[in-house]
Amino acid sequence: MTAEHAGRGPLAADELAAVIARDIPPGSYVNLGIGQPTKIADHLPDSGDGPPPVILHTENGMLGMGPAAHGGDIDPDLTNAGKVPVTELPGAAYFHHADSFAMMRGGHLDVCVLGAYQVSARGDLANWHTGEPGAIPAVGGAMDLAIGARDVYVMMTLFTPEGDSKLVAECTYPLTGVACVSRAYTDHAVFDIRPGGVRVLETWGITLAELRDRVPVPLGG
């Protein structure tokens, strides 16, 4: 059963980040992709004096990453994958790039959250390249995360500025990974993507019926 919240607007990015944070099981090892997904860290439950509820991985070689660093806490040797200065939590560990990506590719991360240009009905992900002539491609660790984490969540707006759905029957942008996305979290709805089809778990500012009109993918409720 889809939980519809049609009597309000779509989620702001921070609200969406909070929704994703709520769905990450406590005790998980999580990689938050660069850009929007880094906001999720601000919404994870506070650890108080105990161990952090979720342990963050950053592919440039760290488990136990803490919040962004500010002022005197900034250390140029300690950044996240987006090259933003961060901090270290108790129980952190550093490792080199081959070990870090072995961790990702070996299926040890519970969840990663990535941005996307498009997600297809079977969970294909396109998030690294627009394919436009003249665009300089950059892939970073996206393809490794896409095939490595047990659950790959996508965080994106559902529609392009032109109003086209980014949840599509088939991706038209170059792929990052095949059949890898299990959840698409968008400002208008959360989509659960399984081999049996796509189900809408929750909506904001739109009804399931309206979604079915605007998203070119069969949607279960």
Partner: protein, 221 residues
């Protein structure tokens, strides 16, 4: 796999190991051999095990005792024959235990591949020897290689020196040996340590096995 748990006893730590499991057992000779966990496995009684370890037991203790208890169907190791490997020798000669002999570096690298998500790799070791017979070979850049596959396992039993409460591990000297590789290769990694310390008590630069690879921790000898 989520967060590591500190268990109250060895018996709790080894609970649930199923008959027919593949179990990686750390150690090189006596150094790094998880005697407490192996004794626990004998009490636990799981049968038809495939044991992956460098050796096949010394004297009457550890793996030798597990073999003597009739719990082992197959041993995958590099160096079964030693001055005091009489338990294995007798079972092997009586046809009561199967042996897969693997060069030591292949043993390590095949487990590393399992942990790192590598599907198979071309390896220079054993080319032209009986241990490469029947295996796929390929010449790359003028050199001959043998194709080797990962060794995956349901469980790893590892001995480390200290764990923190999150499951980060450090080892002592050459007792480190197979521990870090096995911890990453198994679905469930069970670690005996001399001491559990609070998160933050281990130097993050010196953590050898990050907590993500550890499922259960117990203090044991």
């Amino acid at each position: 796999m989520g967060r590591a748990r500190v268990m109250g006893s060895v018996d709790e730590a080894v609970a649930g190991i199923e008959d027919g499991s593949t179990v990686l057992v750390g150690g090189f000779g006596l150094a790094g051999m998880p005697f407490g966990l192996v004794d626990g496995l004998i009490r636990q009684g799981a049968k038809d095990l495939t044991i992956v370890s460098n050796n096949a037991g010394n004297g009457d203790v550890g793996l030798a005792a597990l073999l003597a208890a009739g719990q082992v169907r197959k041993v995958i190791c590099s160096f079964p024959r030693q001055a005091d490997s009489y338990v294995f020798d007798e079972l092997y000669r009586a046809g009561k235990v199967e042996l897969e002999l693997v060069p030591q570096g292949n043993l390590a690298e095949r487990m590393r591949a399992a942990g790192a998500g590598i599907g198979a790799f071309y390896c220079p070791t054993a080319v032209g020897t009986p241990l490469a017979e029947g295996k796929e070979t390929r010449e790359i850049d003028g050199r001959a290689y043998v194709l080797e596959y990962p060794i995956k396992a349901e469980y790893a039993l590892v001995s480390a020196h200290r764990a923190d409460t999150l499951g980060n591990l450090v080892y002592r000297k050459t007792a480190r040996n197979f521990g870090p590789v096995m911890a990453a290769a198994a679905r469930t990694t069970i670690v005996q340590v001399a001491e559990v310390v609070p998160a933050g008590a281990l130097d993050p630069e010196a953590v050898v096995t990050p907590s993500i690879y550890v499922d259960r921790i117990v203090v044991a000898r």
